[in-house]
Symmetry: C4
Subunit: 233 residues, 4 copies
């Protein structure tokens, strides 16, 4: 009996939902789901197309990135996921895509400003963008360094990963997370939409200004925190 059945199925379902939302093509992207008590997560095997992916193909890895179960090689981005799970202690699942609009902002090395309430409904700050990595780190343990770069960016900018559940890795693309697989994938989809709306906003109004903080706080507060009144109780 597979003692990792739960997280394998959860990660398999989350991975399969990426192409459904138009976030990946071919074998791009990956989602992992964590069992924090046991200190292991299930992640997509490297380079396997979504349509032929089986739940049993998911690879189970510990928080040092060592394979615990599974016969396939895990995603090459596995060390990035491992670092994020170690450092962001309330994260339960992580998604990585190369979705078009989010990648464009990452390639432009730009954080996404808060231009409207669609953005503020999901996070109270710009979507952060890491700087380009230094050469010695690229030549070293590159994928783990990608995770560290994300963590450093959150520390530098004073961001809480519980409020800001998405990031752009400069020159690369987005990572998003949440308490569950569907939440991580939902944040990938919303980031893509926010990225597209912000691009169009600047195209229509080159000097567009960020939404004022009163409005940002009102919208973020409607959905998050003690005074939230959106959704069902």
């Amino acid at each position: 009996m597979d003692t990792f059945h739960d997280i394998r199925v959860a990660a398999w379902e989350a991975n399969r939902s990426l192409p459904h939302h138009g976030l990946v093509t071919f074998s791009f992207g990956n989602v992992s789901v964590l069992d924090r008590e046991r200190g292991v997560f299930a992640i997509k095997p490297s380079g396997v197309p979504y349509e032929s992916l089986l739940a049993d193909d998911l690879v189970v890895v510990d928080l040092d990135g060592r394979v615990v179960a599974g016969s396939m090689r895990p995603s090459s981005d596995t060390p990035t996921h491992a670092v994020l799970y170690r450092e962001f202690v309330n994260v339960g699942a992580i998604a990585h895509t190369h979705s078009t609009y989010a990648v464009a902002w990452a390639q432009a090395l730009r954080a996404i400003p808060v231009y409207g309430t669609t953005h503020a409904d999901h996070l109270p700050t710009p979507v952060p963008c890491t700087p380009i990595m230094e050469d010695d780190r690229i030549l070293g343990d590159y994928e783990a360094e990608t995770g560290r770069l994300i963590v450093e960016t959150f520390l530098d900018e004073g961001l809480a990963p519980e409020d800001v559940q998405m990031v752009l890795v400069g020159g690369h693309g987005p990572f998003t997370w949440g308490p569950t697989g569907p939440a991580a994938v939902y944040h990938s989809a919303m980031l893509e939409e926010i990225a597209r709306m912000a691009w169009l906003t600047e195209s229509l109004e080159p000097g567009a200004r960020s939404l004022k903080s009163t409005l940002v706080d009102r919208h973020f507060g409607r959905k998050h925190g003690p005074d939230a009144y959106y959704g069902q109780p």
Copy 2:
């Protein structure tokens, strides 16, 4: 027996048609349908995904926004709908989406100029855009204030809600309406298309000029008013 069956089913069908037209994803957006004689409207419950929405889930609310029937919490935008129904006395249904191109104009805080006959076929003026709300109103009864801001914008600009059946709330997104649920949703879809065409027009010709009034009036008059000759008698 459900005495609100008619408006619940009408609102349910209208809400379900939003994702069909590509106007919403996940649980974004909402449509309501009014029974003006009884002074109540049916509206989507807050935060429920469209694919799992049942007609019985629709919440029935009076024109002060008080729940009259239904076990779920109504959309957080309910007070906006209530104000619009009170002030715009010929409106029978209201739709709110976060459709991409309309939101981009709203985030750019710009009314959409009349650049062509596709626009003029539907309304004889630019699509109005409200200013950003003052802080004390944001901190107060925010959703009702959103409705009042729309009404003020129509008064300030001398617009008739029977002719101009759509508006952009600055920094937020579109609200549209009509005599029926399908009409309100149709206006959401047309607004999105008008917004996209106008963005492309400016991209091709930064100094694009609005359509002259003779042509606007001819096209609007083909479809609306006493001399209309479009459609079947």
Copy 3:
């Protein structure tokens, strides 16, 4: 027995293919198919959605725009079709859409330059764009004047409607034609793609130059005229 069965079915099929190619939504757009010997054409009834359109709904009209058969009111653009059939004597079918990118060029009042071989495969000149109509003609027989404006533009620019099977009506949108219904619709689809490619080309290279005539002639000649060698003999 319906003596107009052939053109009604041909026009019905061509109209139904418009939404299939993503060229129209709701009841926008119309296609007509001509029987030149009898001097009549079948055209979409005004304001009827494509999904509920039946072949028997098609209205048969003579070249003066008078209804010959059918119980519905024909498209409000019928007089435009009639003028084009009278003046462009080799045209067998006409399509009118509000497709997004073609409309954007029409709203920008710009002809579409020949930027590449995809364009030159289909026509050897820019896609012409009519000027905005004078007020007295707008206030007169507007739809027939739209047809005359197209014919005048072809005369002024020395264009042959057998080579250039598409036009933009300034401030409005595209009309395309061909010997048959499928050909007219095909030209609507290709115009939309040409319009999109040309917009992107200018976005990437604001000073983009038109393709030189040697290359235009080579590509147009591959598919058209006595030396054509594209397709099956």
Copy 4:
């Protein structure tokens, strides 16, 4: 018995996958698959729509472009394929499309800079763009000259067709290749996505800079060459 059954079926499947990936409409584009031992390749017949294409319709041609088997006329681009197979000795299949974003870069006469890791995962240099062909070559054996222009561009820029499996023909559009039919089509799809991301990147950041070589090499090396660690062993 058809001794060319294998390459015909392989080329048929590859051609049929082009519309599936949104890379062609109508009869545009073509894929060929080579049997290098026998010195023949199977290619799409000219001007045949994808939905009615049968495996037996594929035309078998030798490396001088002479028809060896098949009753239809081969794609008018056949001489381009033949030149590329003769000169690029490790290529096993070639795809040609008029996909929108790749064509736009070709029409802008611009190579696509390496703006991010999605690009670097697939090739270590910009996507090359040939210059516009000289008049005497256009008037001569045009399609073979297109192949020679591609080969010259690779020689001039010192590119290896094993590493850079795609090219833009200036004013025309993309050709891509690979060891197999699916690989050639995959490169067409990735080129289109790379082209779209790069366009958006410049739109967001007009002075965008190319990714530094350390990062390009790391990503290209993850997937290609002796130290590759992406995918399954």
